[in-house]
């Protein structure tokens, strides 16, 4: 809009003499369309709600639920404790302490890997930052707990998910 051509606008004004009032918009048709939509939902047979604890909704692909740590083909954790997830995390909810890995092909692994799920904002930045594809957000969304302590997931818990 900033680059609007002033010269041509002036020309238009001189041609028509005055600026015409805008046409009155008709809202009738959209309103009818909307009401028809509502009516269609009212008359539809199956309900939109589900009986939650018995029935479970399948999340859409890409849904960001609880984290898990992946294992490689030998069953070892893929994580190399590079701290990139903790660095990327905007909520500072990942705590890692590294140790030397006992395997020949890997130098480093996490001794402690804690995620504070109460603090996590489920943004998925950790998953994106991971160079080893070791952490991912699962579609698990029913995540209540009785205590706050339970929501700090340690390495074993994250690997078992």
């Amino acid at each position: 809009m900033a680059n609007h051509d002033d010269a041509s606008e002036k020309q238009d004004e001189t041609r028509t003499g005055t600026t015409e009032p805008r046409k009155k918009a008709s809202f009738a048709l959209p309103v009818i369309k909307g009401l028809a939509n509502t009516l269609a939902h009212v008359l539809r047979r199956e309900p939109n709600t589900i009986h939650y604890p018995e029935e479970k909704r399948t999340p859409y692909p890409g849904y960001r639920g609880e984290h898990r740590l992946k294992r490689d083909e030998l069953g070892r954790e893929k994580c190399t404790a590079c701290f990139l997830c903790a660095t990327a995390c905007p909520a500072f909810c990942i705590e890692i302490v590294a140790e030397e890995a006992p395997w020949d092909d890997r130098e480093k692994r996490p001794r402690i890997f804690n995620i504070d799920m109460m603090r996590c904002i489920y943004c998925g930045m950790c998953e994106e930052a991971c160079p080893c594809d070791a952490i991912e957000l699962t579609p698990i969304y029913n995540i209540p707990s009785r205590t706050r302590g339970e929501k700090i997931y340690d390495k074993e818990k994250l690997l078992s998910l």
């Binding site: 190399t80 404790a81 590079c82 660095t87 140790e99 030397e100 130098e107 480093k108």
Partner: protein, 538 residues
């Protein structure tokens, strides 16, 4: 730009006519004008090797690009650092350096402070054309504290030159040739000299790794504070790196007046006692543990009611703490002050001129300036005698050293003879048994204040603690609170404030202030030119 009688050379840098002292290398001269030329093998403290080739620039005197680290400026020389030729040359060198370099930045301890990473980001191509297999080179221990991860080595030979020129020990060498070249030690001769840790600092990549710091922390997560090493009377300028308030490693900081770019391994690894099991962190009386606040009030109680008080100071205390002790001792009539010194260690001198002092404490000179030059000599002996003859009823002793046995056998015996004894100690030990009050003391690295090194240089040490997150009240504050309880002080000041008082009271310090000292400190006798013009010199 004229600098006295130094002959100057006029030359062209990126089309601009500039002037530098004759004989300077292009790289140093360009850096003086704010033009940064990348380097790997160049280090201001080492000889010029010119083997990494990353500093190539275009010159009017040569058909090919030349290396800026070894070529010197000359009249009429025209250097371009960002022409197509120079950029292309740097780009190619980066691609070449990265041919055999593994992509293990995520597990490499150097990542985040790696020169190869930085230069790859700034000067390198974004992809490699290399399709063959990378070379595998050895990963092994070179010495008790240092390992080499050969795959990461770019053979800049900084470490080899360091061992030849600075430590003079020559343990390291380059073995093999071409793309298999890698740094190694001679069989059976590990690298274990007292300056070995510096090779890890100067390694531009993560090839040399300190076993002490391996996998401890990622460097970008750590907090850094400029401080001074308290390991010996040399007072090397250091950077203290902490994670969540805990020291993770010490690095040397450049100060050409004191330690150049280096520090010794005794200082570098000499902080583990801060977190040992025997570290004293809570105050206690003879029969119960005390909260931090009640320790201070108990202490104030002792001091205000005491008669025949003696103060036993140590050379680990900062000038500020000593000034507060001086204030207390002069407010109590008939008080005596003596000092104890830790046993002498071994002194070491290296070919580069770097020295490790035999005096394993940071501030003997400061204590002598404040309490007189005899405080560790005759005054100390007098205090020992007074203790032996049970003339001292209340003793306030300080022990800031890392030794668990306190000030040593003769003192420990004598201290027991004081009727009431109040001990500030870093470490817990048997010698503290039966003390009326034991107060946790700050160790070097935890103190905020100034020390005077053996050359009489006043330098600022800063605490590694997070402000507001101190595990216990430091002496600097506690002594002021005691002074307030004794009504010889109205308010609690920062270290800089206490130093101001010290400068008012004691002539030797009168020309200095904390802000004046800057990062590198100043000789006690001299002050900055800025202050000179105002008030004249002594």
């Amino acid at each position: 730009m004229a600098r006295g009688d130094t002959p100057m050379t006029r030359w062209l840098l990126n089309g601009q006519e500039v002037e530098n002292p004759t004989g300077m290398t292009i790289m140093e001269a360009a850096r003086e004008h704010g033009v940064d030329i990348p380097d790997f093998c160049y280090h201001p403290g080492l000889s010029i090797a010119g083997n990494c080739r990353i500093c190539m620039v275009e010159s009017n005197r040569s058909p090919k690009p030349i290396i800026a680290c070894s070529e010197r400026i000359a009249d009429g020389l025209e250097i371009k650092t960002d022409s197509d030729v120079a950029v292309e040359a740097r780009n190619s060198v980066m691609e070449f350096q990265l041919i055999n370099h593994p992509l293990d930045c995520p597990v490499c301890d150097k990542s985040g402070e790696c020169i190869l990473q930085d230069h790859s980001y700034t000067h390198g191509p974004d992809r490699s054309r290399f399709v063959e297999d990378k070379n595998i080179r050895h990963t092994k221990e070179l010495g008790p504290t240092i390992s080499i991860w050969g795959n990461r080595c770019i053979v800049c030979t900084r470490c080899v030159r360091f061992c030849d020129e600075i430590s003079g020990t020559g343990e390291l060498c380059v073995v093999e040739r071409g793309d298999r070249a890698v740094v190694d030690v001679f069989p059976g001769i590990p690298i274990d000299n007292a300056m070995a840790g510096n090779t890890v600092d100067i390694c531009p990549v993560g090839a040399l790794i300190s076993e002490d710091f391996k996998f401890e922390a990622r460097v970008w997560n750590m907090d850094r504070r400029d401080s001074v090493c308290g390991g010996c009377a040399r007072g090397c300028n250091i950077e203290v790196e902490t994670l969540d308030g805990y020291v993770k490693r010490l690095l040397p900081r450049e100060n050409l007046e004191v330690n150049d770019w280096w520090m010794c391994d005794h200082g570098r690894y000499g902080w583990r006692h801060l977190y040992s099991e025997n570290r004293l962190t809570t105050a206690r009386t003879a029969n119960q543990e005390l909260e931090d606040d009640s320790a201070t009030s108990t202490l104030a109680d002792f001091v205000s009611r005491a008669k025949k008080v003696a103060f036993l100071i140590d050379p680990f205390l900062t000038c500020e703490e000593l000034s507060l002790i001086h204030g207390l001792s002069s407010s109590i009539p008939d008080s005596i002050v003596g000092g104890w010194l830790p046993p002498k260690g071994t002194a070491e001198q290296f070919p580069s001129g770097f020295t490790i002092s035999s005096a394993k404490h940071p501030n003997r000179r400061g204590a002598e300036k404040i309490f007189g030059s005899k405080v560790f000599g005759k005054d100390g002996k007098d205090l020992l005698k007074a203790l032996d003859s049970r003339k001292v009823s209340t003793l306030i002793a300080f022990c800031g050293g890392p030794a668990e046995e306190g000030p040593g056998s003769s003192w420990s015996e004598a201290i027991r003879k004081a009727r009431k004894r109040i001990v500030f100690s870093v470490m817990d030990g048997d010698w503290l048994k039966g003390a009326s009050l034991v107060v946790p003391a700050t160790a070097p690295l935890e103190k905020e204040g100034t020390w005077i090194n053996e050359d009489g240089r006043l330098q600022r040490a800063r605490s590694c603690w997070k402000p507001g997150d101190e595990p216990f009240c430091p002496e600097l504050v506690r002594l002021q609170q005691v002074q307030m309880a004794c009504e010889i002080r109205t308010r609690c000041l920062s270290a800089a404030g206490v130093f101001r008082e010290l400068a008012e009271n004691i002539k030797a310090f009168s020309q200095h202030s904390h802000s004046d000292l800057g990062d590198g400190g100043l000789p006690l006798s001299r002050r900055r030119a800025r202050v000179d013009s105002k008030g004249g010199t002594r």
